[in-house]
């Protein structure tokens, strides 16, 4: 019964996108990276749901919204293993994953306090050096950082 209910929650979109397997601790970061708080769409956010893989997970369902790669890939920094389900007419028509883009603009704070980006009102810019290990390099101070050090603006 409970399983059925959960399936119902997930499947209840007519058209739109379901973002599943978001690590619970990063759910609200994902929400703000996607700018969901500024959207007028019908959005359901599930928090601390049970997950075999993650223990606890978050899930986001957005009605009538289909992301382009650039919009959605920015969340790969904090949620690299999410599953996207694209729903049309109550059917999952496409399953996708996210991958780090080549560049991260205005998303990540540079870990170097002496970097110009931490001292001027300006957006940060990082090149992704290694997509698998999530190594990024600041385009300004040229210092590298890894996933553990990454802080979202």
């Amino acid at each position: 019964m409970s399983k059925k209910k959960q399936e119902l929650q997930v499947a209840a979109l007519e058209n739109g996108t379901v973002i599943d397997h978001i690590p619970s601790e990063n759910l609200f970061t994902v929400v703000s990276l996607l700018g969901l708080e500024h959207m007028g769409n019908n959005i359901t956010i599930g928090f601390n749901l049970k997950s075999k893989k993650l223990g606890k997970k978050g899930i986001i369902k957005i009605a009538d919204k289909f992301f382009c790669d650039e919009e959605i890939n920015r969340i790969a920094v904090v949620a690299p293993f999410v599953k996207l389900n694209i729903i049309r007419d109550y059917e999952v028509v496409e399953k996708r994953e996210v991958s780090l883009p080549d560049e991260l603009r205005g998303i990540v704070k540079c870990a170097n306090p002496n970097c110009i980006t931490n001292n001027e009102p300006m957006p940060t810019l990082f090149h992704v050096v290694d997509k698998d290990k999530c190594v990024i390099r600041c385009c300004y101070c040229e210092k590298e950082q890894t996933r553990d050090e990454i802080e979202i603006i």
């Binding site: 002496n114 970097c115 110009i116 001027e120 300006m122 385009c139 300004y140 101070c141 040229e142």
Partner: protein, 312 residues
């Protein structure tokens, strides 16, 4: 508009480095000209650096340009809270080139993005100092007649020394063999050793600094071991006299050996070395003017052919 700024030496190809050396050579033959007559060069030094500033200003003056700028940011609007962007945009209205030294890393890259006039990076924090690298390369070329296949010994602070890191990267085109001589606390960082392996650059590490070790050096690049770099002051006391070059260590060295130092020197080169013909650090500083004349012309789009034509 194409931005001809010089932010990092890493952007330069082998061909471009040799081209810049050739241009510096022209200026060594004819330092004074009117190539930049009517131009205004702004030297913005947000952090004091007398040597670099005087060298750039000399270069600009010898080319006939006029120089404006400041050497003490306390006297400028940045101390009132003006952003770097606003300062750069304002000065861009006055000058044709901005030569900038800044205490923050990445400042030069950012400055080059907010203006259409060329920015010459005269040092951004611990990040890059490309004009120093250019004059180092020119000095090596001049003394060895080539940049290819040299044994280059880097001595002292290899951890924080910005100049040795940039030199290492710029030399990747020329099949060098590097010897890194440093105390454990100031060893060449792992990222640069990885870089060497990726680029196929040979290197050997030493902690001893002796006559025998430097016997087959072509270039001996000395840097200052600074007390404030040590977390363990006992270690500093132990090594502070180890990385000092003395004249008697040079007896068995190669005749073509050339001793370089970015200056200022404190005690890492004994004064008795100064009279040795292998000591080259003061000429190296002089080469800085020619290298910087070449840089100022290049960022303004003046080509080697045009330089040759005017100077001939």
């Amino acid at each position: 508009m194409e931005n001809r700024s010089l932010v990092t030496i890493a952007d330069h190809s082998k061909q471009k480095i040799l081209y810049m050396i050739e241009m510096a050579k022209q200026f060594e033959k004819h330092p004074n000209s009117k190539l930049l007559e009517g131009k205004v060069v702004a030297t913005l030094f947000f952090e004091p650096s007398t040597r670099t500033r005087l060298s750039f200003e000399t270069a600009a003056n010898r080319l006939g340009a006029r120089v404006i700028g400041f050497s003490d940011p306390k006297a400028t609007s940045s101390s009132k809270g003006e952003t770097l962007k606003d300062t750069i945009k304002m000065v861009s209205n006055y000058a044709d080139i901005i030569v900038m030294r800044h205490y923050l890393e990445g400042a030069a890259r950012y400055a080059s993005e907010v203006t259409n006039i060329p920015i010459v990076n005269a040092g951004d924090g611990s990040n890059q100092h490309p004009s120093q690298t250019m004059l180092d390369l020119y000095s090596i070329y001049k003394t060895q007649d080539t940049l290819e296949n040299l044994n280059i010994f880097l001595v002292g602070d290899l951890k924080y020394g910005r100049t040795v890191h940039s030199l290492l990267m710029a030399m990747r085109h020329f099949n060098p063999t590097f010897h890194f001589i440093a105390p454990d606390e100031l060893k060449m960082p792992e990222e640069y050793k990885i870089y060497c392996r990726e680029q196929g650059i040979n290197y050997v590490e030493h902690t001893d600094f002796t006559e025998e070790i430097i016997a087959d050096a072509d270039i001996l690049y000395m840097t200052r071991v600074q007390r404030e770099r040590f977390t363990d002051l006992m270690e500093y006391e132990r090594v502070k006299n180890v990385y000092i070059l003395r004249n008697k260590m040079l007896d068995q060295t190669r005749p073509n050996l050339c001793i370089l130092h970015p200056l200022p020197r404190v005690n890492e080169i004994a004064y008795d070395v100064d009279e040795n013909p292998k000591a080259y650090y003061f000429q190296q500083a002089q080469n800085g003017v020619y290298a910087r004349e070449a840089i100022l012309c290049d960022v303004l789009g003046i080509t080697l052919d045009q330089v040759k034509e005017v100077l001939s």
